[in-house]
Symmetry: D2
Subunit: 252 residues, 4 copies
């Protein structure tokens, strides 16, 4: 029998953090040794003998948390947002001094969302037309969503690489906004609807056919499988890894 | 055995007109007695003994055609576009002088499109959120489509009638256009994609659920059942009828 | 200011019952005066002065509950399942002795589901083809779902009424099950997928076009607006009402 | 300026063949030098100096055509169906004697269909549940479609390779057929609807999320880009290539 991996969750009283703590507890081969919230000290991590820390806190807290973890050789899986080149450089600096420690930072832990982006990227060069529709609950403050913007950028890059011509907009008379937001030449449409959670559709069109890749996130538990995959993989990936896709397609 | 109804098609060399002529020929109970194009004289209609004329010509020609038909007691089913209140008033004037003649003018002969609008109208008052996505081939010059604009207006009217509050847009930071065109407070999004023909999705959202009504027009033959229904019904509807829905739901 | 309506919830510790109790508490014009569970006596209803009781209990308990409510002039809104003609006859008998009391029994309180069935029924006679796909989480024991079966029956009835010919199955060689279950001549397909909740798609096809009506239930709170509508309407509908649609389209 | 590639089409009076001939004529860098039908002799190919032949004929004719082409060093792109291991062995035998000649045989020339299968294969190991829905016009004789069966097999293989457990069917009481056809443990559902052409949806479900890959073929011209890609690539791929995917992802 293998000794279970000792895992801590930081931000364990938040909605996603609490779900992560429960998921770690329930996962075979993992042991939840600490569930920290704002008032807890980072020393609890070392006292508990944590091998991997899952950070689901706040942009204000995450850098301090990571500095401590890396200094103590605790691997980290980070879902907290707000990353800039400068902040990533700090993390890389700390990791240089602790070369066997691994940190995974991922803007999206949903496997379905990551696959959607990857497939969109792979399909883009084969189709004359590409547009993105993202649909979210009616409390979302940003439009388009970060995932949709990123997806459109990946499509635009793949089109450019394949030397596809730009998409001509045929509209000669229309209402402002009808053709969506322009993200690097790819139209992105944002629907806000009561009852929805987080959904995205990538549409490609060519001669006589269309290809649609749709991701539906129906519950915030959709992040859990990705977090658990990160927890299980991060110790074998020293240094900084950005994006869950690096672990998803590791063997390819 | 019933005598077949004698039908003429005007604009019979156009794509839709040619299809209409074939559909009339193939339809039980109908006989195609004349298929006119630009160079033909309207006298051919009376010479052929047409009882119903299907006009699929051009805004420049349709008024002359209708004046002739009505004057000779030939009922008409009209798919030609470009109607204004003034033009409709002319038709009503001619009909006043020929009270047993019927004219059906319809902006859309697709039964699926008409049902979509009707269901959207019926559903609107039950849902907090409503948006429209229309998707067309990438040669379409107007955005949103006329059908989508009309659908959004019908939804807005139904919401107002039910005293629903306006839809708040939650967006605080976004790209211009992301949230679509505003048609009477209902967001409308226009997708233009190679490979598509004409498609429309009406989305409603309420507590914990969504309702979607989607119409896909995959071939221009989708107008034929509506045209044939018009041909069969127009003689029993003296005066001007505007909109196929009046014949679709006649018995309700 | 109007006096709030005094509402009791029976089965208030179940998942749906608890949500219903919260919804009643939050709803303007309603007051939650009792939240009963198995161990509570029905006398609490009269003691609390309940005017309307919402029954979300169990087929074993509901008849007793209704007998008591009706005898005491308490209107009832019932989401509990398991109704047979015999059981409904009992309820009608009790109501005969209490003619001003109203009881609403509804197999489905989701407004989206009820609208889907109604629109399917209205659309059916216009299309040559009709099929139903229902998609649920992978713990559902019955296939097809009750709602899908009912929807298919309504479509079959509407087709028969319009004298549409039966749908020919073109399959000459195939695998067993590929073409779904046969419900009165309408194929019904049942998808079971982890991550889903309750979803249904009704597909109609005619010349060159299709019409799709899709209902997505993403959270069990989707029953709440229908329950609240029932609570607000039942006092004005003495006797037994079966099906939420009777209250939804009351004014039409 | 490059000399255009000299292309012949066999089966040029069939619907797909005629479209292929037009597409070759219109394509930059390609020249249509022969368009053969049943009554034409294969000698026309050599007389016309064809470098690549596109075979869109019939299982009865294709073997003779390929034997002639390979013997004369004419590369071939084959959309004709009916391949067995034995027939492929014959082609390989002829190619062994003409080692610089290339033959591409593809069961599906739609790029969207090939991408759908590939993405399904890549996604399968990440999701607990997988099902396939294919939707076709109501004249299709086989159910499920060949593409859907192949897609389900690829999913089943990927699941087995990743050691995923079999999908448990939760159904304890149901109607026969509701849960679709069983293709290696993956349920496949076949919808037949007037108005449709050829459509396929692959559904994956995991914790809190679903991923859907949908391919819509709206016109038979959807095969043309794949055929042209084959024509342009086959001369650089001596020997037998089976499946368009080998050319689509050549550089990966």
């Amino acid at each position: 029998m293998t000794t279970p991996l000792r895992v801590a969750v930081l931000g364990a009283k938040g909605r996603i953090g609490a779900e992560a703590a429960r998921s770690v507890e329930a996962a075979p081969g993992l042991e939840l040794v600490a569930a920290l919230d704002r008032e807890d000290t980072l020393e609890s991590l070392t006292e508990a003998g944590a091998q991997v820390a899952v950070d689901l806190t706040h942009p204000d807290a995450v850098l301090g948390n990571l500095e401590y973890c890396i200094a103590h050789g605790i691997h980290a899986v980070v879902g907290t947002t707000g990353w800039t080149d400068e902040r990533l450089a700090s993390v890389r600096g700390w990791l240089a001094a602790s070369p066997s420690t691994g940190v995974l930072i991922a803007p999206n832990f949903s496997i379905g969302a990551v696959l959607t982006m990857r497939f969109a990227q792979q399909a883009a060069r084969f189709f004359e037309s590409a547009e993105v529709i993202e649909l979210h609950h009616n409390n979302k403050a940003d439009a388009p969503s970060g995932t949709a913007t990123r997806t459109a950028q990946l499509i635009a890059e793949a089109r450019a690489e394949a030397a596809l011509p730009p998409q001509d907009d045929p509209t000669t008379h229309g209402l402002p906004g009808a053709r969506g937001a322009d993200v690097d030449g790819v139209p992105v449409h944002s629907v806000r609807l009561r009852g929805l959670l987080a959904h995205q559709e990538v549409l490609f069109g060519g001669t006589g056919e269309t290809l649609t890749i749709r991701h539906d996130s129906l519950h915030h538990s959709s992040f859990m499988p990705g977090i658990l995959l990160g927890v299980r993989s991060v110790a074998d990936a020293p240094g900084l890894t950005f994006g869950l896709e690096n672990f998803l397609f590791a063997g390819e």
